[in-house]
Symmetry: D2
Subunit: 420 residues, 4 copies
């Protein structure tokens, strides 16, 4: 849990804004310009780009449309730092972001300061009437941008970890990095803990209602709405995450060489790329090691297994003769009995068997941010919970994270379910 003290102590949007913005910079502590420039794959972005893009979001979603006195910092940035909003315009090709050595890091820091100043002035002058006009639309957009920056904070960490994984010298976070310890130490599984919790069949409410109008009280993304009824059969959910020791047992039982555990597409992938273990594991002289933000280290067997794809999570579940939970099962458990479960939010995202799709009656947020979530509802699978790299105040039981089933570079793990 990378986090700042936020909601309790902070009683103004300006203060919240400053804390959130500072946090992004804190996460880059001790990194060089080079570290923040390189892009290790198309799915990842340079850290410098994350810092610019989140700034661009405040500028594009708030200042330009809503603050009439605002003058855009640099119109070129609409092309360079737009991620995927076709409604705003064309985008510099994603796989080439690492080639944008200019604007320089210093220039991007200037850009951040320029936008931060404008945001603080604007937020300070916002009247409650303005803020809550149109069913709290402005307040919602502000919270959306806050949450957007927090999402990129987690990506800053996952993209950096991915980049460092290609370096044979196994770089480590600086000893002065504010989250060094949190980011590298998961909680050991507890042997004595109850194994699973049962839930009875029935109709449950899933998701949240009318998110925008309640943004001040409890923000959620449009993809979590509307609340709707969902019928669940009875099921059990494991109280703990699958550990590295558990996953080693799967490997040692031939897990990666037995097709029967794998989805067809997964099997093709692991065969063609000769996969034998999770992305960040290394086998050196018969011993497992893992790439971490502390560099290479012996695999901590009692930690939850991390950086697991949906493919691997599903194969492990099959081997274990259990299954992944649906996102609805996960949500019901997290809402009704959160205290029974370890690591719901602060260890690893948990793959569900649910393809990421629209809830019944889903309507994207109006305007340019309609592209935020809806257009990705295809061939992605939902992860629930949160991770050690997730800002603590960013998450909740209804939160729907989603990635392609082959994705491994996120802090993703496995919690198993069973039908009963």
């Amino acid at each position: 849990m990378i986090d700042i003290e936020l909601s309790q102590s902070v009683n103004s949007l300006v203060s919240q804004f400053k804390l959130i913005r500072q946090q992004s910079l804190n996460l880059c502590s001790g990194l060089s310009e080079a570290d923040m420039q390189a892009q290790s794959m198309s799915d990842a972005s340079p850290l410098k780009w994350h810092l610019a893009h989140t700034t661009w979001a405040f500028e594009s979603f708030l200042l330009k449309p809503l603050d009439k006195s605002y003058k855009q910092y640099n119109a070129d940035y609409d092309y360079l730092f737009n991620s995927y909003y076709n409604g705003i315009g064309k985008q510099y090709p994603r796989p080439m972001r690492g080639l944008l050595t200019r604007p320089s890091f210093d220039e991007i820091i200037n850009y951040r300061q320029y936008v931060d100043n404008a945001m603080c002035v604007w937020l300070d002058n916002l009247t409650t009437d303005q803020l809550t006009a149109n069913k709290n639309q402005i307040e919602y957009l502000i919270q959306l941008c806050f949450n957007h920056e927090q999402q990129h904070q987690e990506l800053i960490l996952t993209d950096l970890k991915h980049l460092f994984s290609f370096n044979p010298q196994s770089p480590s976070l600086s000893t002065k990095h504010p989250f060094k310890d949190q980011l590298t130490t998961l909680s050991n599984n507890e042997a004595a803990m109850e194994q699973s919790v049962s839930f009875s069949a029935g109709l449950y409410f899933i998701g949240q209602n009318e998110a925008p109008s309640q943004a001040g009280i409890g923000f959620c993304f449009d993809n979590e709405t509307p609340a709707h009824q969902y019928y669940l059969e009875s099921f059990k959910l494991d109280t703990q995450l699958v550990s590295n020791a558990d996953y080693v047992a799967f490997i040692e039982d031939g897990g990666y060489s037995k097709s029967e555990f794998w989805l067809s597409e997964a099997w093709q992938l692991i065969q063609s790329e000769n996969r034998q273990m999770p992305l960040y594991w290394r086998k050196i002289q018969h011993q497992f090691y893992e790439h971490s933000l502390l560099g290479l280290r012996k695999l901590p067997l009692a930690h939850p297994v991390s950086h697991i794809s949906y493919f691997e999570a599903n194969a492990y579940a099959n081997w274990k003769q259990k299954r992944l939970p649906t996102e609805q099962e996960w949500e019901v458990a997290a809402i009704t009995q959160p205290e029974q479960f370890r690591g719901l939010y602060n260890q690893l995202w948990q793959w569900t068997s649910s393809s990421y799709s629209a809830y019944p009656g889903f309507k994207p947020t109006q305007g340019v941010v309609s592209e935020y979530n809806g257009k990705f509802m295809l061939n992605q699978y939902v992860l629930r919970g949160g991770s050690i790299a997730t800002p603590q105040h960013h998450i909740r039981a209804t939160y729907r994270n989603f990635f392609a089933p082959s994705a491994q570079w996120q802090y993703s793990g496995i919690r198993l379910a069973e039908s009963i």
Copy 2:
């Protein structure tokens, strides 16, 4: 509807078997060995290979395990004609099936006859006790192989149509082809017909129970089981399929150049490949034509639009400010009010918004055929209904067809839904 008189007039498994097997050959009427040899893409197979593979299925799923007197025709065929059953062994690489010019077509006909003879003898000698042993497991496997052959009959037609689409001379089915007219003539939409039918919210039963034991009465695949409750919000379903004329309106409104209608992945695809219209449409001197099994012809505007990807179906629905139905909505409509709808089964498969996944409590059929359906439950979308190329007795309201969302070479169309 390519079909044979089946269930009523045929009172023995042997007769059913013969009719089904003959049908596969009938579909190849008037084709040359070359037509049956070529493979137009990895997703398609040579027609000759379909004829061999379905034969191999009878041999591998029935004769070899269940008929002790059976001698395998040629052990090499386990490698050549196994599609994807890792439980049986390795497979000749799918994209290269078109290179297998040997065994020759004549040899494959011999193979069919050899297996057909063995099957007829074995079926004739099967006692009712044997047939219904182990909860009708043998009867179920027989029906599975029958249905498997029927599935490949539709693929024979879609793969042939795809192959012919690469030929600038626009080949046509032989005038003597038994299904020439059916395969090329869809039903015109009716202007006067009621537009949609409403369904109220509530819990519905979806799917079928205990398929294997009831195979004799009504076969279904394992992926249709078990029956389970599903809560639906109220919705409307259109009574007719979207027509070519409707789809032309979408194109002429700039449908293929407006990102807002498309899923992110779909938009990237149509941009990178400069797609402007459905797969088989051609625009010649400002006029739309379509590639058909009768060759190139003017687009019949009143026909349902066909060979549409999920991407296109979804974009069209967005443009129309409606949506695709879920597979559960489609099934409830098809079971409760089939008479209200045109073209439920005999025009085009209908894309649903449902990602292909396991029903709650799903258990794959035991044995080698466990690979039949389950391992494909990823990144595919469910189509419901049936098409003019589907054997009529092969389909039912609970049938779940599935293809990748980019797939266009199937007889797939669009039926729209709305939340109410």
Copy 3:
């Protein structure tokens, strides 16, 4: 040497034409339509396509421009059967030739007969004046088309062999195939033979002069012209080709795992594709076999090593501390001392170290056939001699064959040289 009795006994162009045309069909003896339809890679073509394309060449280079009474058989064929003549028009994409199941094989035979008839009438009626007009331009074009058909005769065999190599059942030519024995039996190396022949330094004439005007006497391609002086240092050329036994020694000395023998690009290729032996070799239980037109058979150790890429030939030469000859060295040897060398023309093409480029003063043949050779003078290496699959009357000492350095599917071997 696949061949027909040609130049001596045949005193008319018509007779020559008929013999050459028949030979292409003879080479397809015992093959099915399927065998003639499949295309195993982009560099190869379906046999059926070769039969059509060579016909199209007679039609396009002779009948259409020179025979005013000729009516084109089918204008579509200009698109379907044009190989690479942009001067004539666009071409059906080469990698997709295997998808052209129509026109049917019978239709292509009709096409051949139609063109053959027209050619025979036209050739019969050609006056000597017409034939030798414009410095024998017409006679030259006729001979060019004859030679073109002969080049495709060799490709028919190499493409068929390549296709069959993907078939795990190891197909074989029909026992009635007229060249079955010739095509599968190379000459054993002779232990007692002199090892090399020396040549002294000096200026030599290379190539041929004014080919078109002397076509009747001795045809050559434009790329063999003009004759020019070339200075050679003294050198030795081996009298025999490298044998399979020699090449086995290279492999067993770790040839494929030692980078020092390989060109950089070659090393990358064999590393990335894990190459361990020549294309058509198989290692089965510690024994080498080779794919041949007789099916799989034990590697004949005394045969010359065949189906070798330039990469492999060069690596072998480095290992042997010799080198490949330049094309000029080869030509001087072949012209001045042909009797000293085994297998100059009738075993395997011999890689030279010469990049395929224009001779000093080279001018392409005028007209559409200017594209025949010149535009390929890039990144290809010259092979000299001829092979068991080359029509005997097609070849000569100045003949320049050329392929990409990675190409392995031709009947290519190794003859080594040394500087002295």
Copy 4:
């Protein structure tokens, strides 16, 4: 001509060494760590990597084998900074060099200083006897490493220019960059100048003899040896390079849309990538601009056309009904009449029609540096001369530069020849 006063004023190897090493750093003036980190394509390297790799060369080719007191700076660097010397060991994958954000830039500067110190001590203590032992082998290796660093100095500039070309903001060299003006200003063509110079046919000496033993007097690479006779037909060579104005005329005559000017492989490339002009040209509102190290600017019409591929040079020559010179023609002209020609060495490298291959009797330098040149003698074409980005003392008439025929990112231009 980026250069330092070298040979005349510098009377010690140490001084030469220091000047050359400093020059590499000078070329990076005003660049950020990010600019030096990014890698724009596999063929290019990060500038930081160039700085490390050239250092590694001094360490690996001189200090480690020859200076017994030397302690390696960091053994990991043998993997990270080895370019392609398999004789030394495996190499970090070239396309991923941009991911090596560590070692940091500062660390690489430390590495340079460490090696520079060791080199200076070692060079200072070298006796003449040591230096000239084994036929001057040590002196030769020292000069090789000097020349190697100079080659990378040109690559630093071409790789930087390539990287900046992807930046829509058109970055420019710092105003303080020591070579800013030289690098961006070519010489205008002169209208009044003689157009071509003729050379008579005959035997000429090409290349240099026994390079290593004469290294102190005049260094050359092994690929320039041995000197040998070469017969040339009479020819003319243009005195000036083709200008941007000339090349615009080619474009405006439809040069990029007429297949007849292009080699087959070139035509496929420009068709498939829709090429319309040279790599760094941009057409903005009917006006040509070029990307330069000063940013985007109007195309200077009187400058020589630059960043031209062999494909383009060859097509232009065909359009002009001339041809590219062979490398032997170029060398003869440069040696016998250098004063007749503008821009032989200090404008742009000049493509020749010669495929890069071994001279008769070529023997690679012994030892690890045998991989320096020889293994790249495939599918590359020779460029002669030198460019504004080439260190002036690095070049000579016999110098053979070489790149793939599609390469455009070098300072390459066109000088035409004709047969007479």
